[in-house]
């Protein structure tokens, strides 16, 4: 058996390996680059604008070290949920149950650790097990019974809220022992000392910047070798410097507050892992294929049921992670915990560029979308804006973000 393509004559000169390849090639046409990436970059621009907006309105309070730490702590569980949710949405589904699952997993953990006196890690493992089981339940009904996810997870939302009440006997449990609270309230600091700031936080920041630069450079070299268009080298350097500056500023501020939150490390790890999972694995690519055109994916041999099933199992897992973080942060479990979290997570995914019809979206986009909501909520709280107005603003932002997306797509369609 010979393959037409793989056995075909050697493809283009696979390039000289001198570092020069990365230096010369590429375009400096900023305009084209910006236009080509408007959809992706638009969201980052929006985040910067909103951050700047609130920095001005709050006289810089929103950018103070303490407040930045607060934003991370306060919205981390929404960001975790948004990561799972965007994958579900890319696959063409929705999950309305995550708020209830956050409550249930937190409750199970609280019962084991607070009431029964098990060590902290037993609570976490049990929460994760429950989350995965819930995900498998949803996955079974969606993938194998063929029930629309909207219905399955709407039922799940009621079902698991009810189970939460059951598990907690309708009362709140608190407090967790100190080591459980570390998950959400803990900081890694003092490991390397520092004078008025935490050196370890800065080191981690520096490592992150270095990682970004190295991986960016390697991608660039690979792209050049495979004759793909790249930005010009000065532009590449400018991008790395800019991103590096933002990360270091962020680390600097954290270092001057309470140090590096453990939650932030969890979050960074999840973003990294799920970013790779969606872009670089067969599973991730099949999620996009199913959401983009279910029939074509089926006829291409994608095992649609299996992929759908694991999508929901994964969502259950991440809901459990969010449940642990939330219970740890609120230092207990409440029957009404996690109420409306699903809507925040869904909104984050859509603001981050996911398409209602499926097949489009990124983990990074969803996280940035979640950050936009976080910065807005936080900024408005600092300004003392009334709760009612906050809700109105968030609703309008969601609507405008999706409208912008739809408009963009229609324009792209028209130019066909």
């Amino acid at each position: 058996m010979t393959s037409v393509k793989t056995s075909s004559p050697p493809s283009p000169p696979p390039a000289d390996k001198s570092p020069g390849v990365a230096l010369h090639a590429g375009t400096s046409d900023l305009r084209a680059l910006v236009m080509n990436n408007l959809r992706q970059s638009g969201i980052y621009v929006a985040l910067v604008v909103i951050v700047g907006f609130f920095a001005v309105l709050t006289d810089g309070v929103s950018l103070s070290p303490g407040n930045i730490t607060n934003i991370v702590l306060q919205y981390s569980y929404i960001l975790v949920l948004a990561i799972g949710m965007v994958i579900i949405i890319i696959g063409g589904h929705i999950d309305l149950s995550v708020g209830s699952v956050v409550a249930l997993t937190g409750a199970v953990s609280a019962v084991l650790v607070i009431r029964e006196g098990f060590p902290w890690w037993v609570g976490i493992l049990a929460a994760v097990a429950v989350g995965v089981a819930v995900g498998a339940w949803h996955g079974f009904w969606v993938a194998y019974a063929g029930i629309p996810a909207f219905i399955v997870t709407l039922a799940g939302m009621l079902l698991f809220r009810g189970l939460t009440l059951r598990v907690l006997d309708n009362i709140s449990l608190s407090p967790f022992p100190a080591d459980y609270q570390q998950v959400a309230a803990g900081f890694l600091n003092g490991l390397l000392g520092g004078d008025g700031f935490d050196a370890f936080t800065l080191l981690i920041g520096a490592v992150a910047v270095a990682g970004y630069a190295v991986s960016g450079f390697r991608t660039r070299v690979a792209r050049v070798r495979y004759q793909q268009p790249v930005e010009s080298f000065p532009l590449f350097v400018a991008r790395v410097v800019l991103v590096g500056a933002v990360i270091m500023y962020f680390a600097w501020q954290l270092a001057h507050a309470r140090g590096l939150p453990i939650v932030l490390i969890i979050l960074a790890a999840l973003v990294l892992v799920y970013g790779l999972l969606t872009r670089r694995t067969v599973f991730g690519r099949q999620v996009y294929a199913i959401g983009g055109n279910l029939s074509a994916a089926t006829l291409s041999g994608v095992k649609v049921r299996t992929v759908n099933f694991w999508m929901f199992v994964n969502m259950g897992f991440l809901a459990a992670v969010a449940g642990v973080i939330y219970s740890s942060r609120s230092n207990g479990a409440q029957p009404a915990a996690g109420n409306m979290f699903e809507l925040d997570a869904i909104a984050a995914a859509f603001i981050g560029g996911a398409a209602v019809t499926g097949g489009v979206g990124t983990v990074m986009g969803a996280v940035v979308g979640g950050l936009i909501m976080a910065v807005m909520s936080n900024g408005m709280q600092l300004m003392g804006v009334d709760q009612s107005i906050q809700s109105v603003v968030k609703g309008l932002v969601l609507l405008v973000a999706v409208a912008f997306d739809v408009y963009n797509k229609r324009r792209a369609g028209a130019s066909r």
């Binding site: 670089r280 067969v282 294929a289 055109n293």
Partner: protein, 512 residues
């Protein structure tokens, strides 16, 4: 005053880049059954859409004269108010509504206060049903009826609109013999009541049995109108009219040297997924390495259904028969298994079934064989780009980059992407379903060249096409399919459009 009810004069209809109808004229006499025959894509349906106002006045050139008065239909409701009613091939009934509700949909029988008067509606529906010979309770949901009875409901619906000119587009394509006979009987009775019918049909035995006059259309032009009275309406004569054109002679040459048998099916039968009838009926065929085997058949003959049932059972239920790949019997119950056995199916509807239009060329090319680019579940993105670039060169896909979104490419280039996708699965047999539908002449030639190259490399190709010249130009052998049965197998040297068309319209009783 003559007795012409309808005259369509010099109708010309163009779509962007295509002339669907050129100067078509049609005259229908009052109280006759007038058949329209032509190959797939000849323009029959377009002509009827012009007549029924689906293509409104102004979107075409020419004149429609009904009862001596020129008409300018702005839409379906407009034409229906003049008694012109079309029944489409795909029935337009709402499955969960009752017979009566369907009959009066959009035309509800109202009582005082604008509320629907159900007693009146059901009573009137019962009368209409009786007049078409359907004895069912009008409150029965339509989904509980078979296709044949649903067809009768459609006709009852037309009668409720005071139809004078009834247009039926392939009404018997989905019916079994008994239901077809009933329907034709009903048309005769309606004729006796003074209702004129226009019948579009591929089943020439039906046409010759029932039509008072037959108009043949080819390539968007009227060829001739034959009248029963003059004894001109014979199947041979109609076929000659339908295919009588020169071979578009742009098929690249190929030296044929068939090798070993690659794929064979025996006694293959497939049942319709929801209806109780065989879509493929006891079919057997084989294809060899280095050979292009054609499947010719009219719409509804079961070509695509046959192909998809082979390809991981993606169509139909209760599939019976044996499938052999390289002489060994195999089972291909899923697409993944079919791909593993070296079978690839290039769909006739690339936008719906072939491509993820919102994704880029690169990801579409690798979609069916991502495993080849992955280790432990991780995709090698750089190799993927290399593969896509190789396809771009091999197939001459015209795109700025393999990162370009597939939805923005032209039809021909999209088709090349689909072909690339399947070639990357490294198949032994390629089933190409209407591979040149909707693409321009230049791209067609390129596709033909690619097919010839693949065959020269030892692949086997099954080519399904509605265009007989394409089959004659490309194939080594051609199977003909009619109503799910293989009615013949013709080496290309002996094949002509006439004898193929004859086999394609062969009915069960004539097969014996």
């Amino acid at each position: 005053m003559d007795d012409t009810i309808l005259e369509m004069r010099r109708i010309t209809k163009t779509f962007p880049g295509v002339t669907a109808l050129a100067d078509v004229s049609l005259a229908v006499r009052r109280g006759e059954i007038h058949a329209i025959c032509g190959e797939n894509g000849a323009g029959k349906s377009t002509l009827m859409k012009v007549l029924s106002g689906v293509h409104p006045t102004g979107s075409y050139d020419g004149e429609i004269v009904l009862d001596g008065k020129p008409m300018n239909f702005r839409g379906i409701r407009d034409s229906e108010s003049h008694g012109v009613v079309i029944i489409h091939q795909e029935l337009a009934l709402v499955p969960y509504l009752s017979i009566a509700e369907n009959i009066f949909l959009g035309n509800e029988r109202r009582g005082p206060g604008g509320l629907i008067d159900w007693n009146r509606a059901n009573a009137e529906a019962a009368e209409l049903l009786a007049s078409v010979g359907l004895y069912e309770n009008p409150v029965t949901p339509v989904i509980q009826l078979g296709v044949g009875k649903q067809q009768l409901v459609e006709i009852a619906k037309a009668l409720s609109k005071k139809v004078r000119l009834l247009i039926l587009d392939e009404p018997t394509a989905a019916l079994n013999d008994i239901d077809s006979a009933h329907l034709l009987d009903l048309l005769r009775r309606l004729r006796d009541q003074g209702i004129t019918s226009i019948l579009i049909s591929h089943k020439l035995n039906e046409v010759t049995a029932i039509a008072d006059a037959t108009t043949v259309i080819r390539d968007g032009r009227t060829v001739e109108t034959l009248s029963l009275a003059s004894g001109e309406v014979t199947q041979e004569r109609i076929i000659r009219g339908m295919v009588g054109r020169d071979l578009d002679s742009f098929y690249p040459d190929r030296v044929s040297s068939p090798g070993e048998e690659v794929l064979r099916i025996e006694n293959w039968s497939v049942r319709h997924p929801t209806q109780d009838r065989l879509v493929v009926d006891d079919a057997s065929l084989d294809v060899r390495a280095g050979e292009v085997v054609g499947i010719a058949g009219l719409m509804g003959a079961g070509r695509t259904e046959l192909a998809m049932s082979l390809f991981g059972r993606t169509y139909g239920r209760d599939i019976r028969g044996r499938l052999f790949v390289r002489g060994r019997e195999v089972r291909a119950r899923t697409v993944a298994e079919a791909i593993e056995h070296g079978i690839a199916y290039v769909t006739e509807d690339r936008k719906r079934f072939g491509l993820n239009l919102i994704d880029d060329v690169r990801h579409n090319v690798s979609a069916a064989a991502l495993g080849r680019l992955a280790r432990l579940g991780w995709v090698n993105g750089n190799e993927e780009i290399k593969v896509a670039e190789q396809s771009r060169r091999d197939m001459n896909i015209k795109t700025t980059s393999v990162m370009a979104v597939v939805g923005k490419l032209s039809g021909g280039n999209q088709q090349k992407v689909v072909l690339s996708k399947w070639l990357f699965t490294n198949p032994d047999v390629l089933i190409l379903d209407e591979p040149t539908r909707g693409i321009d002449v230049g791209a067609k030639f390129e596709i033909y060249t690619i097919v010839n190259r693949l065959v020269a490399e030892g692949k086997a190709v099954i080519l399904i096409s509605s265009e007989l010249p394409e089959l004659l130009g490309m194939c080594d052998r051609i199977y003909t399919l009619a109503a799910g049965r293989i009615t013949g197998q013709v080496p290309v040297a002996e094949a002509t459009q006439e004898n193929l068309m004859d086999l394609m319209t062969k009915d069960k009783e004539r097969v014996g």
